[in-house]
């Protein structure tokens, strides 16, 4: 409300953030995994005096320089760009409360890129001992980026004691911090193995090293396969109770527009962990000769999908908050919207950035609804409100006001605003719904 806001029709603001964020997570978790994979593999190769394996490491590290320091970083900046514009209030909140963490994160990231660059360009020039040291430094710094950012990400879902004591440390090490760290670390190892498979599969088939490196990379999936199922269970039991209940909402019934899809997508993450384990076993480990580029494409697609599904589950689990118990998805502070008296306070004067000629209703729609809904695209209001006139929309808005009677309180932020403001929002929505494009 205090900042201008970027309005995106179609995929919607969350859609844009999601697309950038999933790409970023996919690449940066691979970077962290690679930070472990490269030095460990180099260490093993040096211990065995295996020159071919060492050459593999060299070829493999080129991948990392391009992907993590260039593409990964670009997507990282993209996230800041998108969240700052789509949900400025929540972004400002996170910056204010975690200045220290962000600073630490950026220092680690800088060191990570630095050590990676030295690592890659030092393959021929540095002494084996120094090169190995740089490798370990790369591993340590890349792990630390995960350790730091994980605190902020999990804080948003389960702020835990922070709600009472507002202490930086209870925010960082919140209830889901450790299980989440474990799961993310396992994902990093798995992705490192997957990328190892890509490099290995491109070696000539007659080369004995190909089979060896394929089986070696495949083994990197073992910890993930074995421990992930327990990590998920741990995470589940650390979730706030309301979030646990949400995960059950889709066991029966398939109605659209509710959170049943959350159950389905979380089921898919378990399912894909299992099928990907089998794919790596049947494909790369047991049958390395037939493990071709075509097969890897599907493995990578599965990995990308399950990354997206996992992140999406975590994001939606947080509903109706963007920061658990503290701030609603639309930037309204939970403390400002608890009872009916809060609802009565006018909201329009708080919207500081207005478009020229914008009605009160439209401004309210932009600030209160747009962070999750669009008119015709993602979670489309024109479709959800189809067949309702202004009066029935107003009735619907009234039952969505703060308080325990609001049936949507577990999945949606309450609607705030005085009676007249609600009426103008209903008027605006009514007009938009009536003006629905005929082709639907």
């Amino acid at each position: 409300m205090n900042y201008p806001q970027w309005v995106i029709e179609g995929v919607g603001g969350p859609g844009v953030i999601g697309l950038i964020a999933v790409s970023h997570v996919f690449i940066s978790q691979f970077a962290v995994g690679g930070g472990v994979f490269l030095p460990v593999t180099e260490y093993l190769a040096r211990k065995r005096g295996d020159a071919e394996m060492l050459e593999y490491c060299h070829a493999h590290s080129r991948f990392f320089v391009i992907l993590t320091s260039v593409v990964g970083a670009m997507f990282g900046i993209g996230i800041w760009f998108a969240i700052g514009l789509v949900n400025p209030d929540a972004t400002a909140f996170l910056i204010r409360n975690f200045v220290l963490a962000w600073t630490i994160e950026w220092v680690w990231f800088f060191l990570e890129v630095l050590s990676l660059v030295v690592y890659y360009y030092g393959w021929k020039t540095l002494s084996p001992r120094t090169h190995m040291m740089v490798g370990w430094a790369y591993m340590f710094t890349s792990l630390m980026t995960l350790v730091t950012i994980n605190g902020i990400l999990t804080f948003m879902l389960s702020p835990g004691n922070w709600v009472q004591d507002h202490s930086f440390w209870s925010g960082m090490f919140n209830p889901t911090y450790w299980p989440s760290l474990m799961m993310r670390f396992l994902v990093c190892l798995a992705l490192a193995g997957l990328y190892g498979l890509i490099t290995a599969s491109r070696m000539p088939k007659t080369h004995g090293m190909r089979t060896h490196m394929l089986q070696y990379s495949a083994r990197w999936f073992i910890p993930t396969f074995v421990l992930m199922i327990f990590g998920m269970a741990w995470y589940y039991f650390k979730l706030p109770e309301a979030q646990q209940a949400m995960l059950y909402s889709g066991v029966s019934g398939f109605a659209r527009g509710n959170l049943a899809i959350l159950t389905r997508i979380s089921m898919l993450t378990v399912f894909f962990t299992c099928t990907m384990g089998l794919m790596i076993y049947f494909g790369a480990y047991a049958n390395p000769d037939e493990f071709t580029t075509g097969k890897i494409v599907f493995l990578m697609l599965s990995a990308l999908f399950v990354t997206g599904a996992g992140e999406w589950t975590r994001e939606v689990l947080r509903k109706p908050y963007v920061i658990g118990q503290v701030m609603y998805s639309n930037g309204v502070l939970a403390a400002d919207a608890q009872t009916m008296e809060d609802a009565e306070r006018p909201i329009v004067p708080k919207i500081h950035w207005r478009r020229a000629g914008e009605s009160d209703g439209e401004a309210m729609f932009r600030t209160e609804c747009r962070s999750c809904h669009t008119l015709d695209g993602y979670r489309p209001l024109r479709e959800f409100l189809k067949g309702r006139d202004e009066k029935s929309i107003l009735n619907l808005l009234r039952i969505m006001r703060p308080g325990d009677k609001n049936p949507y309180r577990h999945i949606m932020p309450p609607v705030v605003g005085s009676d007249t403001e609600l009426a103008s929002l209903a008027h605006y929505l009514g007009m938009e719904v009536a003006a629905a494009p005929a082709s639907h």
Partner: protein, 144 residues
Amino acid sequence: MNMNRRHWLDWVLKGVTGLYGLVLAVPLVKFLQSGEGETEEKVSQIKLEKNVVPEPGTSKIFKFGSKPGILIRRMDGTVHALTATCMHLGCTVDYSKEEDRIACACHGGRYDASTGANISGPPPAPLTQLKLEEKADGFYVSKN
């Protein structure tokens, strides 16, 4: 790698694969388990007409919730209500006028017609007595 360690790892992998199988089988089991109707109907009291047991030696089986109950006017004229599901294997019992007892036709179990105590045959436990109130307009049966 050490042979023993490899063997151990092999078992861990097999075990975890089995665990995934179990987790993924949950939807299937849940699906097959889903049935119709509520588990136990909550009935507190039902009313039976006076004329269902008009004279000594008559009885009437009635529906009490989802299970049967039996109303008996014994040879001595007293009226009793009990659950009618045999404690042995769940057959529905009946009142035997000749013996003045409750008899189960399936495996020959016998119960006392007033208290429901298991007298002879295979039943391991007595039938439960139901609370019976005789009012002017009929019998009122409820849980004890």
